[in-house]
């Protein structure tokens, strides 16, 4: 027991989560969007760690581990896509990728 209230941990997680979300919503650069996404995922990982810490079980950390796996895979595929997109569109502007709409 080190006395960190769970609410505070979760609030920090929420703050990071929301900041990540802002990043996704605001940035037009695809790489920045992917980075913001990482922030969001990391925030959820933090939430799991906080919760795991509350219950004193390994589950929280294991979930974090799995999130890490996801983050790695997603970044791998995502960056691959970004490369292809840059080759084809010569831009990283997310807003210009609107060939399909309506």
């Amino acid at each position: 027991m080190n006395g960190i209230p769970m609410e505070h941990g979760l609030l920090l997680s929420a703050a990071l989560f929301v900041l990540g979300l802002i990043g996704v919503l605001v940035r037009r650069n695809l790489i920045m969007i992917l980075m913001s996404l990482e922030v969001m995922l990391n925030a959820t990982g933090l939430a799991f760690i906080v919760a795991g810490s509350r219950w004193g079980e390994a589950d929280g950390q294991i979930m974090f581990l799995l999130i890490l796996t996801l983050a790695a895979a997603e970044v791998g595929v995502g960056l691959g896509l970004v490369l292809q997109i840059f080759r084809r569109f010569h831009t990283l502007d997310a807003d210009s990728l609107n060939g399909m709409k309506g």
Binding site: V18, G23, G60, I62, L65, L79, V82
Partner: protein, 172 residues
């Protein structure tokens, strides 16, 4: 003591994240992101998740971020993009999403506050995690490997150069 450290680290994490999402240069943003991740790693340590803290530093801040660095380097974004970013990041663009996110944050605040309070900080060491991982979570490990396989194959495929011979079948 721990509490104080917690708050300071939290502040660092939040600050770093804010800086990250506002940077014009992707590399700067990336550095702030690494800072943020490191700060979170410290928090993990404070929360008693030592194993996770180490992973955060090694894999997240280390391995994954390197991928970003590679890509940014490959794409070789110059000054031009920074100018472009500057144009893109007008305050008008910020307001809407930020307000939305703020509302979400307020909602989460309520959730957390009304959800009930509890203490954290029970230390769960690496051994416990290891036992769980290769005990009840054995299947998860296997599945994670399949997840990574999918990611690997996907990334491999996407990483291929464009086939020059093909005429692109575009439609208007």
């Amino acid at each position: 003591m721990t509490l104080t450290l917690f708050y300071i680290t939290s502040a660092v994490a939040v600050f770093a994240t804010v800086m990250m999402i506002t940077r014009l240069n992707a590399v700067h943003g990336l550095l702030y992101l690494i800072l943020s991740l490191l700060a979170v790693g410290v928090l993990f340590f404070l929360l008693g998740a030592h194993f996770a803290a180490v992973l955060e530093v090694i894999i997240y801040a280390g391995a994954i971020m390197v991928l970003f660095v590679f890509v940014i380097m490959m794409l070789n974004q110059g000054q031009k993009t920074i100018e472009q970013e500057r144009v893109w990041l007008q305050p008008g663009i910020w307001i809407g999403p930020s307000l939305l996110a703020l509302i979400l944050f307020v909602e989460m605040l309520f959730i957390v506050v009304f959800g009930g309070s509890a203490e954290t900080g029970r230390v769960v060491n690496a051994k416990q995690v290891g036992i769980a991982l290769y005990g009840p979570y054995l299947l998860a490990v296997e599945l994670a490997s399949m997840l990574l396989l999918a990611g690997l194959v996907g990334a491999y495929h996407l990483g291929k150069p464009i086939l020059k011979t093909t005429k692109t079948g575009e439609r208007s």
